[in-house]
């Protein structure tokens, strides 16, 4: 028997910092529970996010050093030994005592975790003592906090070259020196530098979309059109493609990979045969093409089964030797036309949106990879054979929906840098990182331009200076908007120094020390 309750993230953090600790909760536990047991904490009520080990349950009394869930109506004390971040388990996997399943947790509930499967515990690695000490030493000595990755590299180097203490200190000194040199000064116009650094190479890019050369040609937007697509944050790229990597044991076998590819590629009736409308006897006739059917691994029965999915009206399906005849129950030209259209676009199998799937050797020649035209990340990840960690799509919005905003940020960076590199242009990644940050900082992917970031600026004058001047000024006038003159564009308009570089410095008098 497990306990489940809903809690706030602040309390979880408190428990994490103080465990083992007594935790006071506002519900009574009346049933006998075998100890030690696990408790599950949910944040939203729909899935369990944390697991705690409970070693003692007793009535509430005020003691020193306990953590309280709320300020009043506390009833029980739970001794929590440890708390673990687990990959979310849906609440619906917990059973009530009477055998039914739980739906939501509003406050507190008993439950039994049905399938004990593997519970994935997320681990947070803490800095080692050595790393911590080095970081503190550097901060004390140079007044600067180096990023963790640099600390790691320094210590790796120390081990690799077995440096003496004095030598290592020199390395650290040099690292700090270089780090400081590369740092950007406050009020440096990084955005403008980034825009220019991406814009100038952009002028050298191809304006044309062109085809991949190769056995299996696929059309992919490249060059400037693709770059524009990325910064515009279009909901669908003009040529969505995916690279689907498969799990070990399958990916080395071409036949098995082709099998999966067939499962992914969506097949319509029109792909495996002809559809003829016969007006004379009000029927639609499907003439399957044997060769095409074999290629796609579709049988006649599959087509008949697929037809049963048609939700038009009563149909009679007659199977003849090399054709399938569908008859309408009542004659109507309109309905006959509609039926033809529906039959043509009927999906027999596969994943929606993926029109082609091609199997090719990967570049390092070690495995077979499925390349698809069309993208549907969510459904592809649901397939058992797919290795989700290495599967990718070029549809950034889809990534944001399925995997989250940080993944989308990385996708923007990767897509942009790849597009530039394909054209032989080398742009520093930090410029692109800035663009990706600006596009994603508020939690949704937003375009750069009138509909996205620029249209959101606080200042009226800055917005008016960008595009559609009259409209912005008019609405600002009607609403009585105020302009704080904090940005660059508005200060240029009113003729003040801008808040960048030297313009952002305020001088004050420094009296002489006596």
């Amino acid at each position: 028997m497990n306990l489940l309750w809903k809690d706030k993230i602040e309390n979880v953090d408190k428990i994490r910092l103080n465990a083992p600790v007594y935790y006071a909760v506002d519900f009574e536990i009346k049933k006998e529970i075998e100890l030690p047991t696990y408790g599950y904490i949910t944040l939203k009520g729909s899935e369990a996010n944390y697991r705690v080990k409970i070693s003692e349950i007793r009535p509430y009394e005020n003691m020193k050093g306990i953590i309280k869930k709320t300020t009043k109506k506390l009833k029980t004390l739970l001794k929590i030994e440890e708390i673990q971040d687990i990959s979310a388990i849906p609440i619906s996997e917990f059973k009530r005592e009477d055998g039914t399943y739980l739906k939501r947790i509003t406050k507190f509930s008993y439950g039994i975790l049905e399938e004990q499967g593997e519970i994935k515990i997320k681990k947070f690695e803490e800095m080692s003592e050595e790393e911590k000490k080095l970081m503190e030493d550097i901060e004390k000595k140079y007044g600067i906090k180096l990023p963790y990755s640099i600390i790691q590299k320094l210590l790796d180097a120390k081990e690799e070259f077995s440096l003496k203490k004095s030598e290592f200190n020199k390395v650290v000194e040099r690292a700090v020196e270089v780090y400081k040199k590369r740092e950007v000064d406050p009020y440096e116009a990084v955005g403008i530098v980034a825009a220019q650094s991406i814009g100038e190479p952009g002028t050298q890019m191809t304006l044309r979309t062109f085809h991949y050369a190769g056995v299996a040609e696929m059309n992919v937007t490249l060059g400037l059109p693709r770059l524009i697509e990325i910064v515009d944050a279009r909901s669908m790229p003009s040529t969505p493609v995916m690279q689907i990597h498969l799990k070990e044991g399958i990916r080395e076998d071409e036949d098995k990979v082709k099998e999966v590819a067939k499962k992914i590629e969506s097949t319509n009736i029109i792909d495996v045969g002809n559809v003829i409308t016969n007006i004379a006897d009000m029927s639609v006739v499907i003439v399957p093409d044997k060769k095409k059917m074999e290629n796609r691994g579709i049988k006649k029965e599959d087509i008949v089964e697929g037809l049963s999915k048609l939700k038009l009206q009563k149909l009679t399906v007659e199977i003849e030797e090399d054709r399938i005849k569908i008859k309408l129950s009542e004659p109507s030209y309109k309905k006959l036309y509609q039926l033809t259209e529906n039959v043509k676009s009927l999906t027999l199998r596969g994943i929606k949106g993926i029109s082609r799937a091609i199997v090719r050797k990967s570049q390092d020649n070690r495995e077979w990879v499925i390349y698809t035209q069309g993208s549907n990340l969510k459904d592809v990840l649901d397939i058992d054979e797919v290795d989700g960690a290495r599967t990718r799509t070029n549809n950034i919005i889809e990534i944001a929906d399925v995997l989250g905003i940080e993944a989308a940020r990385n996708a923007i960076m990767e897509e942009a840098i790849n597009t530039l590199q394909q054209q032989g242009l080398n742009v520093d990644i930090r410029h692109i990182m800035l663009v990706a940050d600006i596009m994603t900082y508020n939690g949704t992917v937003e375009a750069i331009g009138r509909h996205g970031i620029a249209g959101e600026k606080e200042s009226v004058l800055a917005r008016a200076a960008f595009e559609i001047t009259a409209k912005h000024l008019l609405t600002a006038g009607v609403l009585g908007e105020e302009d704080k003159l904090r940005g660059v564009a508005e200060n240029i308009i009113v003729g003040q120094p801008v808040t960048l570089g030297t313009g952002a410095v305020t001088l004050i008098y420094k009296p002489k020390k006596r």
Binding site: P186, E188, T502, L507, K510, K512
Partner: protein
Amino acid sequence: MEYTRFEKARIIGARALQISMGAPVLIHLPEDIVDPLDIAMYEFEKGVIPITVKRAK
């Protein structure tokens, strides 16, 4: 306090303007320094300019 390059430029610029308009020089100068901007830079290096910056928190 270490100054950024913008702050340095601003301080030297302000001081050079004062000197060019006749403000007394605060330190004994080598003979070859005559230009107000050079004087301001010399003063900055020696740390005698009574100007500093106010930084946003």
